[in-house]
Amino acid sequence: MQINENNKEFKPLIVAFCCNWCSYAGADLAGSSRLSYPANVKVIRVPCSCRVNPMFILRAFQRGADGVIIAGCHPGDCHYTSGNYFARRRMTLLFSMLDYMGIEKGRTRVEWISAAEGAKFSATMNEFVETIHNLGPNKKLEDLRCKE
C-alpha cells in the first residue's frame, strides 16, 4: 500500500484496546521480539475485549483519535469463555452506526491476536496505521471543546 502524498505529515492517533490475556501479551511478545510498529499506537489494557464499552470508542473519536482497534482472543479461546463473542456483536453494530455517521469502517477494527502472535500484533498495527494514514485525519465526531 502506498501512503497518500497529501497525508505525509499527518501523524495519526490510534487507540488500541487489548485484552489482558491475549493481545496485550501479544503486544508484549512483539516488544520482546523487537517487532516494531509506529509509536502512534497507544495501548489500553482491558481484562477482556467484552469490557470495551462503545462509549470508550465514541469518546476516543470525540477527543481526536483517528482510528480505534480492539484486539481480543481468537473465537473459542476467550479467557472468560464467551467475552469476545459479545465484543464481536457489539462492535459490528457500533461500527455500522459509526460508518453511517461518517467514520469510515477502515477506522475501526476488531482483531483476534493471541498471546503467541507477537508478529501478528506488529503486522496488524503497521497495516492499520497505514490504512489510517491513507484515510487522513478524522474530523467526524471530534469535539473541539475538548481541545485545550
Binding site: V46, R51, Y80
Partner: protein, 661 residues
C-alpha cells in the same frame, strides 16, 4: 486529590536506550496530584524498591505509577512493594514503556513522547483508583492430570507422593502413552518398558491416584482452586469390577480385522482387545466398529467364554463430575500426517516406514517379536536408509517450521541398534544437521558413527521409488557435492511430531492458549515454563513443545511441584477486580446475569434509600468469590449500574482522555 509518586525505570539501557527517562520524569512532575517524580536504573531491584517505599512514607503517597516493563512482568512485584510500605496494593499502576514503547521504537524523541503519554494515562487512571481488598476462596485439594503418558504419570506420582489426591484421565484404554511403544531409550539404551511399566504399576497402585482410562474431559468450569470437570467414561463393554484380565475373550474373538494401534497398524487385533500385555488397567475393551455382535447382533463369543461374566454389550458411557484445585495438561503428541510428502512414497510402499513403526518392528513384543523384518515380504533388510527432518524445520508449509528435537537422537539409537544386532546391514542416514544438545548425547551420536560405522550423509533425499522389489533412494551429498542413489530394502522416515489433536478442544475448555503450532503456551517462556497463563492450569510434557523422555520427566516433576504449592494452600487470594452493582442505578432487568459466563450474579429484593425515598427494589448482587472480572456485564447494563473494580468505566475513560489529548 491523590498524592501520586511516579517512578520511571531505566531498565538498564532497555528503556533508557530509546526513551529519555529523565525527560519523562520531568514531563509528568507537574501533572495534577504528582508530588514526586523520579527515575532510577532498576526499579525492580532491592534498591529501586527501597526508593519507592521511602517515597511512599516520606511524601505520604496515596498511589504510585511505575513506568517500567509490562505489568504482566512486574505488577505483582510493585504491588508487594507498595503493600510493604503500607499502601493498598491496588493503588499501583504500571505504564508499560518497555515492551510497548522502548523495545519497538527506534527514534528517541518518538519513544519519549509516547512514554510520557503512557505515563500520563496511568496517572489519570490512578486518580480514580480506590483501595481494593482481595477476598479468599477455598482450595479443593485434588488435582486432575489429563493424559496418562510418561508426563502425566510422573506428574501424578509426584503430586500423590506429596499427599494429595490425583485423578488421571486418559483417552485410550491404558496408561503408558507413546513411551510404552518405544523399544529402547537414548542415550543409555534402557529398555523403555522396563523403566516405564514400574511407574505405571506405581500409579495404579497408589492409594491417592485414581485412574480414568478410556475417558475424556468433556467440560471444565470454575477457576483456580475450584474447577468443576465433567469426565466421560466411555463404555468399554466390559465390567471392570468383574473382569480378571485372563484374556480368554481377546484370544477367542473371531474378528481380526482391526489395525493394532499399539503396533502402529503393522498387524491386526481382535475386536475385543487389551492394547498390550502390561496395559493398566488390564481390562479389555470392545471396539464397537469391528465387533460382529455390536454390528449384527450375531456372535457374542467373548461373553460365552468369559469365566467371570464381565462382558456387557449394553454398557453406556458414563458422565462423572469431579472437583479439582488444579489441572495439568499432559496430552502429548502424535506423528504428523505424511500426505504432503509424496516424494518419500510412504503411502505406496510398505517398506517406507516411520520411526515409531521401526520402534515396534524392533520390539520383542511387536509384530515381528523383535526380529527386524521388512513389512512387505518379511525378509531381513540388508540396506537401510534413514531420512531426517521429514516435516520438521520445514517452512514450505508442507510440514512444521520447528525442530522436533527427538529425531536426531532416536535415529542414532536405531542405527546403532541395527548395526549391533545385524552387523551385515548397511545403514545410511540423510541429515540436514545433527543436533545433539543434551547430557551424553553427542557422545552417543559419535559412537554411532565411530564405533558402529553408520554412514551419515549430509543432504536431503529428493525421491524414493520402488524398483525391482527394492527402494531406490535418490538424494544429494552436500559435502561431496554429488547426487547419490542407494538401493535400500527399508526406508525409515524421522517424521515430525505435533501436539495431539485433542489439545485444541482442551485449550478451549481450559481457556489456556495455544500457539500457531498448537502447542500450549506457557505463562512465561523462561520464568514460568510449566504454568499456563490461566491460573491453576499447568503444562507437562510435549503438549508444551517437543521434548525427549528425560526433559518430559523433568517438566512433569516441575509441574507437580507447582501443583503441590497450590494445593498446599488452604485459601487462595481472589482477584479483587470484580464487578459490583450500584444499587441506586440498578433496575433489576437481569441483562447482566444473562451475559455472565460464571453465573456470578443473583437478584435480591433490598430496601434502598434513594435520596430519602425508601423502597424495596429488585437489584443485582455480584458474588465476589465467583466473579472473575471479565466485565461483560458492565457493558451490557443499560442503566450503567454495573462497574468493574480496577477497570471502572471512569478509569478507562480517563485513560482514553489522557491518550487523546
Amino acid at each position: 486529590m491523590q498524592k501520586i509518586g511516579v517512578f520511571v525505570c531505566w531498565c538498564g539501557s532497555n528503556i533508557a536506550g530509546t526513551v529519555d527517562v529523565e525527560r519523562v520524569a520531568q514531563a509528568v512532575a507537574n501533572e495534577p496530584g504528582v508530588v514526586i517524580s523520579t527515575d532510577y536504573q532498576y526499579m525492580c531491584s532491592e534498591a529501586g524498591q527501597l526508593k519507592i517505599r521511602q517515597a511512599i512514607k516520606e511524601y505520604g503517597l496515596t498511589g504510585i505509577v511505575v513506568c517500567s516493563c509490562s505489568p504482566r512482568m512486574h505488577e505483582a512485584t510493585f504491588r508487594k512493594t507498595a503493600q510493604a510500605a503500607g499502601l493498598n496494593p491496588y493503588m499501583v499502576e504500571i505504564a508499560n514503556i518497555r515492551e510497548q514503547c522502548s523495545w519497538i521504537h527506534k527514534d528517541k524523541d518518538e519513544g519519549t513522547e509516547k512514554a510520557i503519554i503512557l505515563a500520563k494515562a496511568a496517572i489519570a487512571k490512578l486518580h480514580l483508583n480506590t483501595p481494593l481488598k482481595a477476598g479468599e476462596s477455598a482450595v479443593t485439594k485434588r488435582a486432575l492430570v489429563i493424559g496418562g503418558g510418561i508426563a502425566g504419570i510422573q506428574t501424578a506420582l509426584d503430586i500423590a507422593d506429596a499427599g494429595y489426591e490425583v485423578d488421571i484421565v486418559e483417552k485410550s484404554p491404558t496408561i503408558g502413552g507413546k513411551m510404552a511403544q518405544l523399544d529402547k531409550t537414548f542415550p543409555t539404551l534402557d529398555c523403555a518398558a522396563c523403566i516405564l511399566t514400574p511407574k505405571m504399576v506405581d500409579a495404579s497402585a497408589h492409594e491417592k491416584i485414581n485412574l480414568f482410562t478410556y475417558s475424556e474431559v468433556e467440560g471444565v468450569s470454575g477457576f483456580v482452586g475450584n474447577f468443576k470437570v465433567k469426565i466421560r467414561k466411555k463404555a468399554r463393554h466390559v465390567k471392570a469390577d468383574l473382569c480378571t484380565g485372563c484374556g480368554v475373550c481377546t484370544e477367542k474373538c473371531p474378528s481380526r480385522k482391526a489395525p493394532n494401534e499399539f503396533n502402529q497398524g503393522l498387524n491386526k487385533r481382535g475386536a475385543i482387545y487389551i492394547p498390550f500385555a502390561q496395559a493398566i488397567p488390564n481390562v479389555p475393551v470392545i471396539d464397537t466398529e469391528y465387533c460382529v455382535k455390536m454390528k449384527t447382533g450375531k456372535c457374542g463369543l467373548c461373553a460365552t467364554v468369559c469365566p467371570s461374566k464381565a462382558i456387557d454389550f449394553e454398557q453406556q458411557d458414563e458422565i462423572v463430575e469431579r472437583e479439582y484445585g488444579a489441572i495439568v495438561a499432559a496430552t502429548g503428541y502424535k506423528l504428523i500426517n505424511l500426505d504432503n510428502f509424496e516424494e518419500f512414497g510412504y503411502a505406496q510402499n510398505k517398506d517406507v516406514i516411520t520411526s515409531l513403526e521401526l520402534e515396534r518392528l524392533m520390539n520383542a513384543a511387536g509384530p515381528t517379536k523383535g526380529t527386524l523384518l521388512r513389512p512387505s515380504d518379511n525378509e531381513h533388510p540388508h540396506e537401510i536408509v534413514f531420512i531426517q527432518c521429514v516435516g520438521s524445520r520445514d517452512v514450505s508449509g508442507c510440514g512444521k517450521p520447528y525442530c522436533s528435537k527427538i529425531c536426531c537422537m532416536y535415529t542414532a539409537k536405531h542405527a546403532m541398534m541395527i548395526r549391533d544386532k545385524y552387523p551385515d546391514t548397511k545403514v545410511h542416514v540423510f541429515y540436514i544437521d545433527v543436533r545433539t544438545p543434551g547430557k551424553n548425547f553427542d557422545e552417543f551420536y559419535r559412537r554411532a558413527v565411530e564405533e558402529y560405522g553408520v554412514d551419515y550423509i549430509k543432504g536431503m533425499v529428493g525421491k524414493v521409488v520402488e524398483k525391482d522389489g527394492k527402494l531406490l533412494v535418490q538424494g544429494s551429498d552436500l559435502i561431496a557435492n554429488e547426487q547419490i542413489k542407494i538401493e535400500a530394502d527399508l526406508v525409515v522416515l524421522a517424521t515430525a511430531i505435533e501436539p495431539d489433536p485433542s489439545v485444541k478442544n482442551l485449550a478451549t475448555m481450559l481457556t489456556a492458549s495455544i500457539d500457531t503450532n498448537n502447542f500450549l503456551t506457557e505463562a512465561h517462556a523462561k520464568l514460568r515454563p510449566v504454568e499456563s497463563p490461566t491460573a491453576g492450569v499447568f503444562l507437562s510434557g510435549v503438549c508444551q513443545g517437543p521434548k525427549d523422555v528425560p526433559e518430559t520427566v523433568a517438566q512433569a516433576s516441575a509441574a507437580a511441584a507447582k501443583v503441590i504449592g497450590l494445593l498446599a494452600k488452604d485459601k487462595l487470594t481472589c482477584n479483587p477486580c470484580v464487578a459490583n452493582s450500584n444499587e441506586l442505578l440498578c433496575n433489576g432487568c437481569s441483562q447482566c446475569a444473562n451475559v455472565c459466563p460464571y453465573g456470578a450474579i443473583e437478584y435480591i429484593n433490598k430496601e434502598v434509600n434513594d435520596h430519602g425515598k425508601r423502597e424495596v427494589r429488585r437489584i443485582a448482587l455480584v458474588n465476589e468469590a465467583v466473579c472473575q472480572g471479565c466485565g461483560a456485564c458492565t457493558v451490557t447494563c443499560p442503566s450503567g449500574a454495573m462497574d468493574l473494580k480496577g477497570f471502572t468505566t471512569r478509569q478507562i475513560m480517563a485513560e482514553v482522555d489522557a491518550i487523546c489529548k
